[in-house]
């Protein structure tokens, strides 16, 4: 931008573009506008409903963080030009594997978590290899895995335990060194202090009387923020990030320039699986159980968050920050409608409308960038 203003020999054919249009050509724009709109709306309509006190903030933050974790993976994969519809099933599958390993087989929880991560990332790689080798659309390949993984998620606990929910993980995780990295909380003393000085409310009765209503930030949120920062830096500041854009923009042109397109795509499938497993592990550690129906429809929610965040479905363009904002909008609205006392089924109506709006806006932005008419 600076070079354009100082360039002495300017080209008279290049029209000055307004700051507004320039701002519009940022993938995050939709996400920023949406976030502002959503917060304004709920500040006006639901301010005194408890949505913006400590508990309320924690409530929608956790939900948003869940969306964020899977949105980061889906975002990078979509920019690399592929989809993963098996994310939701992968969440259910990963949670169930942890439960089976640690409860049914009574392995130490840290081992169960590690083996599950290796297994799930490996399945992500298989997804990628099939897409690369066959040249089939990733839509179809991962749709197959949506059913395969969900099937196993129901089959294993049925056969091993004769039920579809396996509990008792909290007891198994007692004293484990790895489990707190997913199910723990950080910042406890800070919240205790805030409770003591009256910044946040404290319980007035019961066994926890005197303790703050919010006693720490769940690791889920820490993971979400960490993954967003990692994804953003990877995409915009590294060589590999350039390859992700290139692989999704035009795989053939990228190959001609020496970009290892296949490697990039397979790695992104693995990363998406990794994010799904992080989600599953946090959820299992929090609930203390794994259910066969966990993660249902999450793949679509991840894709919607990414699209709201400004990524193009066709690949080659998008932003992790945008996807994170998309996830935030998602979480705030889902919980906000509850606080505002709106019938929760309307959430789906809202979802459909905002998805449609985002896709139309993205198509318009794409024309602006590429100069198509």
């Amino acid at each position: 931008m600076s070079a354009a203003t100082q360039g002495a020999d300017k080209d008279e054919r290049i029209k000055e573009i307004s700051r507004f249009r320039q701002a519009l050509i940022r993938p995050e724009l939709g996400g920023i506008v949406g976030t502002v709109a959503v917060f304004t709306f709920f500040l006006l309509t639901a301010f005194d409903s408890g949505m913006f006190n400590a508990q309320g903030v924690m409530n929608w933050s956790v939900v948003s963080a869940q969306f964020m974790i899977i949105a980061v993976g889906a975002c990078l994969l979509m920019i690399a030009g592929e989809f993963d519809l098996s994310v939701g099933s992968m969440i259910g599958f990963a949670g169930m594997m942890i439960a089976i390993f640690s409860v049914t087989l009574a392995w130490p929880v840290w081992l169960a978590i590690m083996i599950t991560f290796v297994l799930c990332v490996f399945i992500g790689a298989i997804n990628g290899f099939i897409v690369i080798r066959t040249g089939l659309p990733s839509f179809i390949v991962t749709l197959a895995f949506l059913f395969i993984l969900r099937g196993f998620t129901i089959f294993f606990p049925q056969v091993l335990e004769r039920k579809t929910i396996i509990g008792g993980i909290k007891d198994a995780a007692e004293g484990d060194w790895l489990a707190p990295f997913f199910g723990g909380k950080v910042g406890g003393p800070i919240f205790e202090w805030m409770g003591n000085v009256g910044l946040i409310e404290t319980f007035s009765r019961g066994t926890r009387a005197g303790q703050p209503v919010v006693d720490g930030i769940p690791m889920l949120i820490v993971w979400a923020i960490g993954l967003v920062i990692f994804g953003h830096i990877l995409l915009t500041r590294t060589r590999f990030g350039n390859w992700i854009f290139a692989a999704g923009g035009d795989a053939e042109a990228a190959r001609n320039s020496g970009v290892p397109v296949n490697r990039v795509k397979v790695l992104m499938f693995m990363f998406t699986a990794f994010c799904a497993t992080v989600f599953a592990t946090c959820q299992v550690m929090e609930f203390g159980s794994a259910g066969a129906d966990r993660g249902l429809l999450k793949e679509f929610e991840a894709i919607i968050a990414v699209v709201i965040g400004g990524a193009l479905l066709t690949g080659g363009y998008g932003s992790v920050i945008g996807a994170a904002l998309g996830a935030l909008i998602f979480g705030v609205v889902q919980q906000g409608l509850f606080f505002a006392g709106v019938e929760s089924s309307l959430f789906r109506v809202f979802l459909g409308l905002i998805l449609l709006g985002a896709v139309i806006l993205n198509t318009y932005i794409r024309r602006l960038i590429t100069g198509e008419r």
Binding site: R237, G249, S257
Partner: protein
């Protein structure tokens, strides 16, 4: 004249029973623009694909800087310094010019032991190279999609030269362009030539060839009729050679020399 960068000696290429090239000899010197002319099916594409390592010659040898060379694949040729700019460019419209420019060759800087993409360097070099070629970008983050066809060709050429091309093969760079854009590309070829790069310019447009060419080789049905220097040959003669002689001569009268 100095030694040729590349000498294609008596190259023959057969595809099964079809003889695509029947003994073609072409030399490219540093700093010259060697035009390879020929009608469709004359063997131009086969010839440049042999030069850039896509095909292996059936007979004949390739001398690169005086030494016999065998390219196993295009990568070898690129490593040696033979770059091809295709009609269908290796450019990604939605990515910025600087990201495209360094695609596959990203400069790195290390911070805290982590290699990062050095965007300041990439942006600076891109702006510099583009200015040298006479393209004024709005900024290095301008998307390639907003550039015209001729400007995209120029970015591709500048990129190839920046990354050390000694021989630059341009496969019909002007065939899809308008008048103004064509003259931009021809001007770019002229600039590249002055930097000492040997340019192989493939075209079937005699006017474009004559505008920048130093030497001209006409291919016809897999053979050449030798190489002519600039000034030794008239446009009419080139046109006739390309068409294989007779037919065009009879057309010429009615078309009034417009072809």
């Amino acid at each position: 004249m100095s030694e040729p960068i590349i000498r294609m000696n008596n190259i023959e290429k057969h595809f099964g029973s079809v003889i695509a090239l029947a003994g073609v000899t072409v030399e490219v010197f540093p700093g010259e623009c060697h035009c390879l002319l020929g009608d469709n099916g004359a063997g131009k594409s086969t010839f440049i694909k042999t030069m850039s390592g896509v095909h292996k010659p059936t007979k004949g040898e390739i001398l690169f800087e005086g030494k016999p060379m065998e390219f196993a694949d295009p990568r070898d040729a690129i490593e040696a310094g033979i770059a091809t700019v295709h009609q269908h460019l290796a450019m990604i419209p939605m990515m910025s010019v600087s990201r495209n420019f360094f695609m596959g060759n990203e400069p790195l800087k290390t911070r805290l032991g982590i290699p990062f993409f050095d965007r300041e360097y990439a942006d600076r070099v891109t702006m510099e190279e583009m200015r040298k070629m006479g393209i004024n970008l709005r900024g290095p983050d301008q998307a390639v999609g907003t550039l015209s066809g001729g400007e995209r060709q120029t970015v591709a050429i500048a990129r190839a030269v920046h990354f050390g091309a000694k021989v630059l093969i341009l496969d019909e760079p002007t065939s899809a362009l308008g008048v103004r854009q064509t003259s931009n590309v021809l001007a770019t070829i002229d600039k590249v030539r002055k930097q000492g790069v040997g340019v192989v310019f493939i075209s079937h447009n005699v006017r474009h060839a004559l505008a920048v060419g130093d030497r001209f080789t006409v291919l016809n049905r897999g053979k050449t009729f030798g190489t002519a220097k600039r000034g030794e040959i008239t446009p009419e003669e080139l046109q006739d050679l390309m068409a294989g002689g007779q037919e065009l001569a009879t057309l010429e009268g009615s078309l009034g020399g417009t072809v």
